[in-house]
């Protein structure tokens, strides 16, 4: 039985369809990330699960029970808001035990649970402060503590790290994931940051314009993107997506040399290959001229314009331009993804060489 299940959920705001017929399920104790660009309906989906917004149609069930029409409090879930939503006039301790007080949990039990969670999230010694006297990271911890003290088992988080600086964001990422595993919580986590999703999730649900683009493990989304959108959204830098044209002997890069990337028609198709799968070669492959090198420490990102497209290549260590700018690019055949440009869908390997244009899987 799934901890949370959405069936054909749609949400309309007037004419705008924020969420369009989404179905998904979340296993108990798993960490599921709703990923997507801003405005794709992540928050709306999460808020419908919480009961803060009501779905226009469809059903939501939690632990096998239909909760579609239940108020938020009856759903037994906790939530961490992007703004943290801490009560500014209450102390850290009062903020954390707010819900216990509402539910009239006796004071000694409240105190015990408070001590426990304060310890877990590392807020010891700060419980008498007001939220305004805390740093961003500490406020984040208070919000987490308030979510876990209820011991609901399900926690929803809406971009909880977006107000933190890069270093802290990374630390909290690790901590939240560890906390989730230690407490065995079921977490639905919303973010627009694919790196966050990749590093934390058991399962990533990639949203686009209110519908589900692809569902899978981080490795699945990274290694087997089913659409152009997925390919362009996952990875930094993302997958190279270059348009192809028909050459005399097979598909060639549009505006590039006559190097045949595969046998078969190229027009209307897009070649996808990750920067890290490309290697430089002296004699064979696609001939390019390197124009820029972005040194990142462990590796360097090279830019190679082909026609009016740019191919990025990740090479280990430092690569200096000027030494050798004219190079050939090669990549293993299994690293190649071919998409149909019009539909954005992946073309299965078996159809690449034989298939005509538009004969996608």
């Amino acid at each position: 039985m799934s901890a949370i299940e959405l069936k054909n959920i749609t949400k309309k705001w007037g004419d705008v369809t924020a969420v369009d017929n989404i179905s998904l399920s979340v296993d108990e104790g798993s960490f599921v990330v709703l990923l997507g660009p801003s405005g794709c309906g992540k928050s709306t989906t999460l808020r419908m699960i919480a009961g803060l917004d009501t779905a226009s149609s469809g059903t939501i069930s939690i632990a096998g029970k239909d909760v579609t029409s239940l108020p938020p409090a009856a759903r037994k879930i906790s939530m961490v808001f992007q703004s943290y939503a801490l009560f500014p006039h209450l102390s850290v301790a009062e903020n954390i035990i707010f819900g216990l007080k509402v539910r009239k949990v006796p004071a000694p039990i409240r105190q015990k649970r408070l001590e426990k969670v304060v310890d877990i999230v590392g807020l010891a010694g700060l419980t008498d402060r007001k939220p305004s006297q805390l740093s961003g990271g500490q406020r984040q911890r208070v919000a987490l503590a308030r979510a876990i003290i209820a011991e609901n088992g399900i926690c929803l988080m809406d971009e909880p790290l977006s107000n933190l600086d890069a270093k802290l964001r990374h630390d909290m990422r690790v901590e939240i994931r560890a906390l989730q595993q230690r407490l065995g919580m079921t977490v639905i986590y919303v973010t627009h940051d694919q790196a966050e999703a990749m590093s934390m999730a058991d399962k990533v649900i990639l949203l686009r314009d209110g519908h589900i683009e692809q569902v899978g493990t981080p490795e699945g989304l990274y290694g087997k993107p089913e659409t152009l959108f997925t390919a362009s959204f996952i990875g930094t830098p993302p997958m190279n997506l270059v348009e192809l044209a028909n050459g005399p002997e097979g598909a060639v890069v549009l505006g590039g040399s006559d190097h045949v990337v595969f046998k078969g028609p190229g027009e209307g198709r897009v070649l996808g290959v990750r920067p890290e799968d490309i290697s430089l070669s002296d004699d064979s492959g696609l001939l390019v001229e390197l124009t820029a090198a972005d040194y990142l420490g462990a590796d360097t990102i090279l830019n190679a314009p082909v026609g009016n497209q740019i191919i990025q290549i990740r090479v280990p260590g430092r690569y200096r331009l000027g030494e050798k700018n004219r190079v050939h690019l090669t990549w293993p055949q299994e690293a190649v993804h071919i998409f149909e440009k019009a539909s954005g869908k992946k073309i299965e390997n078996s159809n690449i060489t034989t298939g005509k244009v538009g004969n996608a899987a």
Binding site: G51, I77, F81, A85, F87, H89, F98, V102, K130, R146
Partner: protein
Amino acid sequence: MSEHKGSMNRVYGWLLLLPAMVFLTAFTYYPMVSTFFVSLFSDGTATRPSVFVGLENYQFLLEDDIFWKVLVNNLWYAAGTIPTSIAIALMMAIWVNNRLPARGLVRMAYFTPTVLPMIAVANIWLFFYTPEIGLFDQIGSVFGFPSQNWLGDPELVLGSIIVMTVWKEAGFFMIFYLAALQSLSPELEEAAHLEGASRWYIFRRITFPLLMPTTLFVTINAVINSVKMVDHLFILTKGGPDNASSLLLYYIFEVAFSFLDEAYASALTVVLLVVLAIVAVGQFTLMDKRIHYR
């Protein structure tokens, strides 16, 4: 060098403060001080020049029955208007802050009393309160109530003035509460809601405490307004009947410009200023401790 720069900065500082200081001194502090001095002298006439009488004017004040009556009136007036108008303002603000149809229209309707000129307001209410043909008596007669002389009956007149004041002030204070409510993040309420808090609980533990700075501001305004009231009395009652609706400032006005006793009016004014100062200091120190400022 740096010392020179510092002293120049100080000159600039004072220059920037100068205009405000000139006007405050000319129109606030100088009149206050001179009022105090005038209150220590007898009232001069053409034949009898004013002489220093010390606290004689204050002595007279203690024995002045009308002063005491007016003071008590003013206390009742304050007690009747301040809590009621604030409570109504808060309720209206919360109601208007909700998603309701024609919200803009409702907001404007509540605010209208505030933008109307005081004299116009008084005239409208004069019509409401007119015996026999006024709005209240006409409505009352439908339900079989006898006609009342709302503004002519010493028992009713202060109450009638209070009702009118509440009507006027509540809309004004509502605007402040509305602004404060809109600056509160809706996520706070949602977070509390998720924890199972009822609307009343959320109001009591979240909304109301966070509105405290506004409440303090509004309360001070209400107190000041309660001793500033004079224009309505002009139109409606002239303080009568038998001073039953006269308030402090109106009495001061009468003493100064009808009875032309400048010295005694000054003494009354000093008393009023002292009372106001005590109230303001009290409010700030008492409430400051309990208020959470963001």
